[in-house]
């Protein structure tokens, strides 16, 4: 019997300040959640990368007033799926409206604009955006891969 079968839904919530140093906090939070849920290294990495790109986007473009803001992150894990919501009170911004960049054929036509969003779309199984009042709400879904579902991986 694997642990996934016994798993009860669990919810984790935390908030981050609009400061780039909070990326470390994000990484640490996700690491402990990953440990608790026995996420595979790849699954944890992909989750961290998607949230990193989103967070970096929000704090780079979302706030124009120079004040401190909070970005709220909620992660709900059921047996198979992680559902992550990220809420901020920055300017209305739907990252999904940005065009996916053309993948480069050579270094000369390689542009990095939109790369973060491109990564998020590819790493997550579902991405939804809505604007609710003054809030941007982005919901991400990712199928869970645990250490036990990927037996070739050795936990370190």
């Amino acid at each position: 019997m694997t642990r996934d079968m016994d798993r009860q839904p669990s919810t984790y919530a935390f908030s981050l300040r609009n400061d780039i140093s909070e990326l470390q906090t994000l990484g640490r939070r996700l690491e402990s959640i990953g440990e608790e849920l026995s996420l595979s290294k790849r699954c944890l990495f992909e989750l961290n990368l998607a949230l990193d790109e989103l967070f970096t986007n929000i704090i780079s473009y979302g706030f124009e007033d120079g004040n401190e803001h909070r970005i709220e992150v909620t992660i709900r894990a059921d047996e198979r799926v992680l559902t992550v919501t990220i809420e901020d009170d920055g300017v209305a911004f739907n990252p999904l409206e940005r065009q996916t960049p053309c993948l480069p054929h050579s270094i000369d036509d390689c542009r990095v604009g939109g790369l973060g969003i491109h990564l998020i779309r590819n790493l997550m199984d579902e991405v939804c955006y809505r604007r609710d009042g003054q809030q941007n709400i982005l919901t991400l879904k990712k199928n869970i891969e645990t250490i036990s579902s990927n037996p070739t991986e050795i936990s370190t």
């Binding site: 990326l23 290294k41 790849r42 990495f45 990368l49 970096t56 054929h105 050579s106 790493l123």
Partner: protein, 110 residues
């Protein structure tokens, strides 16, 4: 992130340890471009102990690759964890970057 540098027979190797993200990419970019400005033509970046990379890290690699190309130099990336390599593939960077399995492979190729 820790960066260890090693110069040997005209090749400058950078060994990265930890996380290459928006917090750490600037320090790495500075070290890389100091070396390129000093005339380095051949660069190896060893990813063996790198646990994490974001688009900020990809940007630094792209910028250095473009700079070295202008100087007729070469850059090789080696020893990536499979999930790190996947990020390069999703970004399409594997189309023009040389990614090899080990540091020895990288040294042989330069």
């Amino acid at each position: 992130m820790d960066i260890t540098e090693e110069k040997q027979a005209g090749v400058h190797a950078f060994k990265l340890k930890g996380r290459l993200d928006s917090n750490t990419s600037l320090a790495f970019e500075q070290r890389l471009f100091e070396s390129i400005t000093d005339g380095t033509k051949n660069v190896i970046i060893d990813f063996k102990e790198l646990d994490y990379i974001s688009s900020a890290g990809l940007r630094v690699i792209l910028k250095a690759t473009k700079a070295l190309k202008r100087e007729n130099g070469k850059i090789l990336l080696c020893a990536m964890q499979d999930y790190v390599k996947e990020v390069f593939e999703i970004a399409g960077f594997d189309a023009f970057l040389s990614i090899v399995p080990t540091l020895d492979d990288a040294r042989r190729a330069l």
